[in-house]
């Protein structure tokens, strides 16, 4: 996190989008929008792609706060919970509210809670701030469990997600759900991408790199920090809705525990701080990779070991891989990816 302001390419004035640079991303969008929903099996969609999308979005949100603005937060899953429960209650209690509106309002609710818990950031830094966001984690979960109103007085505290219907169109097939999640993730990711290239994004980085210096050059530090908390909480709140409504289709407060917060933080760190694509790469590693590993393991070794032994060995392999990645490339997968691409380009232009 010590990128100097002057050398960071991100503070250069916004470049015009060249087709050559945009082509791979457009291709990726085409694959995600057109090819995957047609060709991926329901399992790949329901168990891999949808949680991948939800956690990627949460990681994009946390990356704005932690990667760009430098405010360490351990409360991500609390904001996800706020989003999921707000959307559920809005949907339940406000007759005729369109689903997309209740999702947006759920994001707003998460923003409000995020602002409240962002206030300590005006005084606290680093570990101390992390501890105060930890308070958000425990407080939100406690409130949701303590007051059964939030789960519509359901004795178990578990709620059923409403069907996904937008304008009479039901997204009830795996591909439908995937496209629903993908639409939201695409829109929010593009907005975040624009945000970090704007002046505000540069303010985020300025605050991260040196608060004192940022203040001196006229960056409104307090406002910038709160804005980072607000935007990040909004995005994470919407990710929570996706997690609850689109992926699990049921929500319980215990599902949004500290483990999930740490998982999102690891996604950001492993994927690469202060990159949007890092969030997706990190989510792929953390979400999809263990599942692929587990399937590969049970396919190859299933007849010799029971599932418990396999599970343990997967954890060891995954842990070792993460440590390896971080040693080889502490800047995260995004940097690894960038380096690989540059090398390939060099080789291509040499030959």
């Amino acid at each position: 996190m010590t990128t100097s302001l002057a050398s960071s390419p991100r503070v250069l004035p916004l470049r015009g989008l060249s087709w050559r640079r945009a082509a791979p991303w457009l291709l990726l969008l085409v694959v995600a929008w057109v090819i995957l929903p047609w060709f991926a099996s329901p399992y790949v969609i329901d168990a891999l792609l949808i949680p991948f999308l939800a956690l990627s979005l949460a990681a994009v949100g946390l990356n704005l706060l932690t990667g760009y603005a430098g405010q360490l937060s351990l409360g991500s899953s609390a904001f996800m919970a706020v989003g999921a429960f707000a959307a559920y209650n809005l949907n339940l209690r406000v007759e005729g509210l369109p689903l997309l509106v209740s999702i947006a309002l759920a994001g707003v609710a998460a923003t409000a809670i995020g602002l409240v818990f962002g206030l300590p950031s005006l005084r606290l830094r680093g570990f101390y701030l992390a501890v105060s966001t930890l308070a958000a984690q425990f407080f939100v979960q406690w409130v949701l469990v303590k007051f059964s109103w939030f789960s519509n007085d359901n004795p178990s505290g578990v709620i059923d997600a409403p069907p996904l219907v937008v304008g009479g169109l039901a997204f009830d097939t795996p591909a439908g759900r995937y496209l629903f999640a993908l639409a939201i993730v695409t829109v929010l990711t593009l907005l975040c991408w624009r945000l970090v290239q704007s002046q505000t994004g540069h303010h985020f980085i300025a605050v991260r790199d040196n608060e004192q210096a940022a203040r001196v050059i006229g960056v409104p530090v307090l406002r910038t920090k709160l804005l980072a908390f607000a935007v990040s909480s909004f995005v994470i709140g919407v990710a929570g809705v996706l997690w609850g409504f689109v992926y699990l289709r049921t929500v319980e407060p215990a599902g949004f525990n500290l483990d999930r917060s740490l998982q999102i933080l690891f996604i950001v760190i492993i994927g690469g701080l202060a990159t949007i694509r890092g969030a997706f790469l990190g989510a792929a590693l953390i979400v999809v990779f263990p599942l692929l590993l587990s399937r590969l393991g049970s396919l190859l070794l299933g007849q010799w070991f029971d599932s418990g032994v396999l599970e343990m060995s997967q954890r060891i392999v995954l842990g070792a891989l993460i440590i390896f990645f971080l040693i080889v490339e502490p800047q995260g997968l995004a940097a690894l990816w960038g380096r690989a691409r540059r090398r390939l380009h060099k080789r291509a232009s040499a030959s």
């Binding site: 168990a47 029971d306 599970e311």
Partner: protein, 438 residues
């Protein structure tokens, strides 16, 4: 182009992986097992799924399957976590010939309610689950077999009443319920409240956050409350910790009543002598002396196909419950085969079998399970099946049954269950069934 190539490889390998698992066999009935052998609840998971698999193995080895139809299964590790359970569901539901789902987790069961209903495959939650799924008119594919959480609560309160000398003696008594901080643990909160109002005992319900390996604060509160009884609605590591902490805070073990997920050897042995005298409710007796368990020992473990790593656990409560779960599954298939023919059945046909599952005392004996459990009679509108409960006491070495088989107060509970189920039907726009054919 690099991106496209990478993605193509990724899609291809994912497709290959899923295709590799889809080899269909004729005449088999497949059990997808959302088991857990890792994590804080591994003791319950290994025992239950071990028993379940042992029984399926016994039926295959001894009878060549059910009516000639081989029973097959595959495990997916959930660690008792909802999202892993969902992942395993999505993975294994691709397989053909699925019989039933048995996740042994309320959280996972909740997440599967809509999914199994859409896929028309039964979901079995033996001794646990969401209480109002007992109402088969609304929850066509969900079966909280033998004992739903409300029946369990009623059974425990009735037992305390009998120890006090009648339900009128409950007035003025104080009961603390120490419950596991999970959907499973919270399921009975309203029904304890209702029973305390009905019988006039005072009630305090205290939550132990998952997984429950520190309970100083809770037992301090119990010490202050000075209750006559503590009901332990625990799960996994929470139970021995509760018993040990109770001993430290001076609460007598014989006034702690364990619920149906706090009644195993794995709950009391780690607590040592702190567990001596502890009483727990059960639907399935402990012990390996029952003929069906003898056969498992001889046929399955004799052939080296036993699932438990430690054969000493044969006949433990969780293992026996797994065996019983196997019996109920297999009998439902047998009953459905009698109607639809001896072939691979669809999930919906097995649902019909479950809704006609009637194992009386004579049939229990024929299955070699006399005394292992009492009886079950499931109907299309009662998916619990009127299971009876007994109480057992731990003497430091083994469980001894200290009561007869007794019935919970179903008449009291049924209207509450129906109300809740109908509210669910309204919320979800489900048509209430009028008969088994609906």
């Amino acid at each position: 182009m690099l991106h496209a190539k990478l993605l193509k490889t990724f899609i291809l390998s994912a497709a290959l992986l899923s295709a590799g698992l889809q080899n269909a066999h004729a005449d088999e009935q497949f059990f997808p097992l959302q088991s857990y052998r890792v994590g804080p609840y591994a003791a319950g998971g290994t025992g239950f799924f071990g028993g379940f698999i042992d029984y399926l193995n016994l039926v295959n080895l001894r009878d060549g399957g059910v009516g000639g139809v081989k029973l097959t299964w595959e495990e997916g590790e959930t660690q008792y976590e909802v999202e892993r359970g969902v992942e395993v569901y999505e993975r294994l539901k691709q397989r053909p010939n699925i019989a039933t789902w048995n996740p042994l987790s309320v959280g996972i069961a909740y997440a599967l309610l809509d999914r199994v209903t859409a896929d028309k495959v039964p979901l079995l939650t033996i001794n646990h689950g969401r209480t109002d799924t007992t109402d088969g008119r609304v929850f066509k594919y969900i079966f909280p077999l033998l004992l739903n959480p409300y029946s369990e609560t009623s059974g425990i309160v009735n037992y305390i009443a009998s120890k006090e000398g009648g339900s009128d003696k409950l007035k003025g008594k104080k009961i603390v319920v120490l419950y596991h901080g999970s959907p499973y643990g919270k399921e009975t909160i309203p029904i304890y409240k209702l029973l305390s109002e009905k019988y006039g005992f005072s009630l305090q319900q205290i939550e132990v956050p998952h997984p429950g390996n520190d309970q100083q604060a809770q037992w301090l509160a119990i010490r202050r409350a000075k209750p006559d009884y503590v009901v332990l609605r625990g799960w996994g590591v929470m139970n021995p910790v509760a018993l040990k902490t109770a001993q430290k805070s001076g609460f007598p073990a014989d006034h702690i009543i364990g619920n149906v997920w706090s009644n195993s050897e794995e709950d009391v042995i780690p607590a040592g002598d702190a567990a001596k005298g502890y009483v727990a409710i059960t639907t399935v007796a402990a012990g390996a002396q029952y003929p069906v368990l003898q056969e498992i020992q001889k046929t399955v473990y004799g052939a080296g196909k036993g699932n438990l790593q430690d054969p000493k656990r044969i006949g433990s409560v969780y293992h026996n419950l797994g065996v019983l779960n196997g019996i109920l599954n297999v009998e439902a298939i047998r009953i459905a085969q009698a109607k639809f023919g001896k072939r691979t059945l669809t999930g919906d046909e097995i649902r019909w079998g479950l809704e006609n599952l009637n194992i009386d005392q004579a049939r229990t004996a024929a299955l070699g399970a006399k005394g292992l459990f009492h009886s079950i009679h499931v109907t299309w509108d009662n998916h619990e099946g009127d299971g009876l409960v007994a109480f057992q006491q731990w003497d430091g070495k083994q469980w001894n049954v200290v009561s007869d088989w007794i019935a919970p107060d179903w008449k009291l509970l049924r209207p509450i269950i129906e109300k809740s189920a109908l509210a669910y039907a309204k919320e979800k726009n489900i048509k209430v069934r009028k008969s088994i054919d609906d």
